[in-house]
C-alpha cells in the first residue's frame, strides 16, 4: 500500500512538471512569434494561445485527479468553450482585416 501511494505521488508530480514545462514553452513561442507581417505574427500568437487553453484543461484535469473534486472539470468545460470562441474570433478577424 505504501508503495502504491508513492507511485501515485510520483506520477502526479511528473505530470505536473511536464505540463508546467509545456506552459513555459508555449509562453516562449508567444514571446518570440515570427513572421513577415503583423497578421502572421498575430496568428503565431493565436496558435500559442490555443495551446495554452489545451494545457489549462490538462492542468485542471490533473487537479481533479489529485484532489478528487469534480468542480475543476466544470471550469475546464467552460474554458474549452471560451478558448474555442476566442480562437475562432481571432482567426476570423485576422482573415478579414487588412
Amino acid at each position: 500500500m505504501e508503495q502504491m501511494e508513492f507511485i501515485d505521488w510520483i506520477v502526479n508530480w511528473i505530470a505536473f512538471v511536464l505540463i508546467l514545462a509545456a506552459f513555459l514553452l508555449a509562453f516562449g513561442r508567444m514571446w518570440k512569434a515570427e513572421g513577415p507581417n503583423h497578421r502572421t505574427i498575430a496568428l503565431d500568437r493565436v496558435v500559442a494561445l490555443d495551446l495554452i487553453g489545451f494545457l489549462s484543461i490538462g492542468l485542471m484535469t490533473l487537479s481533479t485527479i489529485q484532489s478528487g473534486n469534480a468542480l475543476f472539470l466544470d471550469a475546464a468545460m467552460i474554458l474549452a468553450l471560451i478558448a474555442f470562441l476566442g480562437t475562432v474570433a481571432f482567426a476570423r478577424y485576422l482573415e478579414k482585416g487588412k
Binding site: 506520477v11 509545456a22 496568428l43 496558435v47 484535469t61 490533473l62 485527479i65 475562432v88 482567426a91 482573415e95
Partner: protein
C-alpha cells in the same frame, strides 16, 4: 486487494503519464517547428490527444459518475472543436501569406478570390445571387 484494483491503478497511471507526455510534446512542437502550419499540426493533434488521455485517466482513477460524464462532455467538445479552430487559423495564415518551410509548389496560390475569399470558379451555394447582383451593380 483484488486484481482489478491493481489493473485499474496501473491503467490510470499509464494514461496520466501518456497524456502529460503528449502535451509536453505538443508544446515542444509549437516552440521548435519552423512554420506556422507545422506548429498548428503539433498543437491540434498532440494536445487534443494528450487532453483526451488525461481525462480518460481521471475517469479510471476516480471511478465516479460525476467525473465520468463531465469528462465525456469535455472530450466530445474538444474533439469536435479543435479541427474547426485549426482550419480557421490555417485559412487565415494562407490568406496572410505566411512563409512555408521547404514547400516546392502551392496549388492553392491563385485559386482564391482575393476580395471575397471564395474559391474562384466555385459558387457559394448559400448566397450565389445576392453577391453576384451586388458586384454587378457596383461595377456597372
Amino acid at each position: 486487494m483484488l486484481i482489478w484494483d491493481v489493473v485499474f491503478f496501473w491503467l490510470a497511471k499509464g494514461c496520466i503519464i501518456i497524456g502529460a507526455a503528449f502535451m509536453f510534446v505538443a508544446a515542444v512542437g509549437v516552440f521548435r517547428m519552423p512554420d506556422i502550419y507545422m506548429r498548428l499540426h503539433a498543437n491540434t493533434k498532440s494536445a487534443t490527444f494528450g487532453a483526451g488521455f488525461l481525462l480518460i485517466g481521471g475517469v479510471i482513477e476516480l471511478k465516479d459518475w460525476i467525473v465520468a460524464y463531465r469528462s465525456l462532455a469535455i472530450l466530445i467538445f474538444l474533439f469536435a472543436t479543435a479541427p474547426v479552430a485549426a482550419h480557421m487559423i490555417g485559412r487565415a495564415a494562407h490568406f496572410a501569406k505566411a512563409p512555408r518551410w521547404g514547400l516546392l509548389s502551392d496549388e492553392m496560390e491563385d485559386k482564391y478570390d482575393p476580395e471575397t475569399h471564395e474559391l474562384a470558379g466555385m459558387k457559394n451555394p448559400r448566397k450565389p445571387k445576392t453577391t453576384k447582383s451586388k458586384r454587378e451593380k457596383t461595377t456597372k
